[in-house]
Symmetry: D2
Subunit: 338 residues, 4 copies
């Protein structure tokens, strides 16, 4: 960590900073420039985070040098993590997996129809929300446990794995009982109590990036799960909030190569939430694969104009099937399979 002293910091101010750092067990080194004095501190960064040096007189800025995450970093683990979902499905390997299905489980008929359609087009994992986070208390909130049962029936019938969202620590046990991959939504990326519980179980977790989370904060959220002992974390870019209003969010595809540079964890992309308008979803699916994503999460509904949630961003089964064809060609162009 580097402590930059203000241009009018006194010798006493400088001495006080050094005293504090050394009392906390750090080695320090002082460097006097023409305009600024800076102090470097070497030692255990996690203890350093607790000393609010900015509150000391004469301190202008404290600049962290090390990334705050450990277990999520490539320095901790050089080889790529491959998250084994089942015997034949692994996220992060050569094969790209597409998770598709409706925003919400609305009925047995709707979900089974969607499952048959996405399976036919080549998806290997079925998505569908049973517990739904909705901006309005007056919107459809999901079927709850009944929805999970329907998902399980579809899994059985079509040989798909299922990914579904957990919203609350209280429903985690039942979600974990049914799901093959437990999804943490963007709004819960920093629900630390939930993350801690997910660190204690042995199930793959799909961790969506928060609406306004930096990549560093996202990896810190993963760190909560990893440090609890669960290494089966799949990251999911799903768009960030920006000033642009034409799209629901701005899909940050640069997050894909960056996460792969900083971390060993696999990363997939959700273009449906990323853009929020179905017309642009196929193009962003193609771009995500070209950027190196390990998978996709795509909303597909048997009849989008009847959807109880996110109809505007859902693909029809026909468009989804056509998109899958395009994606196979892109996957091959980047040396992968789909």
């Amino acid at each position: 960590m580097i402590i930059v002293m203000a241009h009018d910091a006194t010798e006493k101010d400088i001495a006080e900073v050094i005293k504090r750092l050394e009392a906390a067990g750090f080695k320090t080194h002082l460097s006097r420039g023409v305009e600024r004095t800076i102090i470097g501190a070497i030692g255990d960064k996690s203890r350093l985070a607790e000393i609010p040096l900015e509150a000391l007189p004469g301190v202008e800025e404290v600049i962290p040098i090390l990334q705050p995450y450990k277990m999520a970093s490539r320095a901790f683990r050089a080889e790529r993590t491959i998250v084994q979902v089942s015997e034949d499905i692994a996220i992060g390997g050569e094969r790209i997996h597409v998770m598709a299905g409706p925003c919400a489980v609305e009925s047995r008929e709707q979900l089974l129809e969607a499952a048959a359609q996405v399976k036919a087009a080549g998806a290997t994992i079925l998505r569908g929300g049973a517990f739904k986070p909705r901006t309005s208390p007056y919107s459809f909130q999901g079927l709850g446990v009944k929805g999970l049962e329907i998902l399980a029936e579809a899994r059985e019938k079509y040989g798909l794995k299922i990914v579904t969202e957990v919203m609350d620590v209280r429903s985690l046990p039942v979600v974990a009982e049914y799901a093959d991959i437990i999804q943490v939504g963007a709004r819960n990326m920093q629900n630390f109590d939930l993350l801690r519980e997910l660190g204690k179980i042995d199930k793959p977790v799909l961790l969506k990036r928060g609406l306004s989370a930096t990549i560093e904060e996202w990896l810190m959220a993963a760190e909560y799960i990893l440090s609890g002992g669960n290494f089966k974390v799949i990251l999911c870019e799903r768009g960030i909030r920006t000033f642009e209003t034409y799209t629901r969010n701005t899909l940050d595809l640069s997050a894909v190569p960056i996460v792969k540079h900083l971390s060993h964890l696999p990363v997939i992309v959700d273009p449906s939430h990323g853009v929020g308008r179905w017309q642009f979803v196929p193009a962003m699916c193609r771009a995500a694969i070209a950027a190196g994503a390990d998978g996709l999460l795509v909303e597909v509904h048997p009849n989008p104009p009847e959807a109880l949630c996110d109809g505007a961003q859902s693909l029809t089964p026909k468009t989804f099937a056509e998109t899958m064809e395009e994606l196979r060609r892109i996957a091959q162009a980047v040396g992968r399979k789909l």
Copy 2:
């Protein structure tokens, strides 16, 4: 709601939209312009939200006309809500209340000292976190129930009320037992399960604006609590995330008059998180009162350089006392008391 048809929408497309709307019980009216046809829909907006018209062929855009919140709106309640915290403390009336204290309860000594200091300077409510949401799993996570007990002791000793954060539905009962005002942090603004639980209890709730929440989403979060039956909601602006990196967040003071225009709920400001550097907190306290805030939430620590969290943005007791003097003059200038 207004449905704007694409310039190349067919008569069939238009007829289909009208058919769907009328089937859902809406009255429609059609307006053909030179370049676009638009369809207006009149009826119960909450049902309309469920029809994903954007997914229909020929629909270019769906524009909501009504605000999605009801009970939080001034149309629902014209007079201002005054949240009674205790017999003599009410938020939203003529008197401005300052809630002050450390980021976290670190020890009995620290908190009692802080309580004495903020009381002496004129604060009426003591803040202090017992359960702390921290970006890093390696940071101090709060004293938990022990912290709540220390807060209760300070309340007793100094005649202050206490505001403290709840992070998780599981700890809500114990937090509600101790707190006079239950704080919902920015990261939990859309933790809908927690909001629903808060709607069922009879305690004032301080609802912080999410890092990237629009004012409308913030009022929708309040709607979750109000629609559950708890009308004691105090909104708290605490800065939003923008591209500016010099400050921790960008304090959006325009939210103060806007919330008062759109809603009957009282609104306070947290300049400490808003700017993240103590040097600028006094100026933003003054500005918040001048903008019409009903109160402030300010971080004050007996010794900021020793703080276990947020030391950089905490005022010393001395600076806090000086700031309170300035605030009294501003309050008077805008016709209020402090």
Copy 3:
């Protein structure tokens, strides 16, 4: 245009709005809902923009229905515009063109070397700044006219076309004399005097999206050029400013399919400025082509650690050549040539 009246608007307020609209030559239609009255206005939108209806009593919101751009829209021109740069180079057709070269022309040697290298790898257009917009007055500001002469020499020698930036109306004549494509930088996207001048000449213009420009504002900037009579406009997405600090900007690849949906103009992508770190440029080049971009603008420097500007985001000639190989495969996968 739709005028939404406040819930407490009076009959007099409503009558006044209608009076104003009709006086301005608009047809109006009134729709009274349960909670709101709305007024629709049909007529020439450009005149409507001049009536500040929001300033009238009782008006809550004014919602534009039509896109404010005309000539840039697909309603104006259904077929795609192909910008002919020279006899054999056209932007917006089946063939994707890559424009590559250094950020700035630094010397004759540097530019000629770069030109040889990008030509060998398959670029058809050479980029290089002679006039450089720099955040700091103390940074290298470009070689000016001397730089243009060097570019012309490289064009001659390697059979490349050249794209270079104009910063100021005063230097437009000389830039236009040398350049095959005149670049308008992100900071000048709303330099309306410059745009007006570009509307009067007969040269292709590469219009970069502003750092915080919405897609609509970007198309409005194009409208300035088109409405002046110059239809040779190529749009260029180069990243927008968001809260994320790891990247220089956030490359908004969804802008590619969206621009193609809203406009007939071709669109290319500049991943170098979009991410600002060379490591991630190849992945974003691939993603841009997969998303449907008509071309790329890529910074390549013979020796990035010696570059006088943007060294951190410049590819080495070797990495560029490898990337071009990958791009050919992606182009083929999406049915195009490169």
Copy 4:
């Protein structure tokens, strides 16, 4: 400057960085931590900016320690700059000045009426645009030189000074001839050619913050003017672009104390553009003064619903006069005059 090496940087990489720095005349010092090696560089920062160290192998991050602006910094000039506009009007001293008037000069009658009204309410400087930057080429573009003549007439008649915008280097001479303060709009904050010209003249310049400019970039834009020799620079916060759509921009009032901390230049606030809705302008005027602003720039129109631009954000003369009364009380509360 601090160079952080990647965790897998080799000794050769480290040696190369040091070699480059020393060749450029810097003193270096090496610090080997447990996980990272960092290199400090001491010397003339402006030369350092030219070495793209990030492009060297093994370099993870380059962290600047010094602010890139010099003449705009308080290190350069400790006492506050007071910009003398005329014998009796100075910006940055004890007295707060309010600049008020319409968005655009629309006619002689309109401007003279506005001038009389703002003068009566206590404004000392008249604002009004003669050259108008408009998002749409079809909007009113200003009266040009005719508008400047009308402004001059109003100055004469009412004893006000005038502030008006320059958009283009070509019209700078005529604007400078008429204006007492030359305004640089947000869109031109990084029009470096224009800034350079403003550095050569001896007139006060009002430099608005760009829509997405960081405080540092804003001060760098000021540096262009200062380094040219013109020290009469007044900064103006006018809102930044964020995700919030209810307001036109988000007024960043924390910029006021921050600019005063980092720079010696005076800073004023434009709440009209900051929020974009007249209803909230008075509250933000009060907040700006309470935050420490040296002045205000406020849009006032004799009849906002007839305004040719920005009617929605213009105060009526009556509301403006009432606001001025409130501002006098706030000014007094913070120890200043208005």
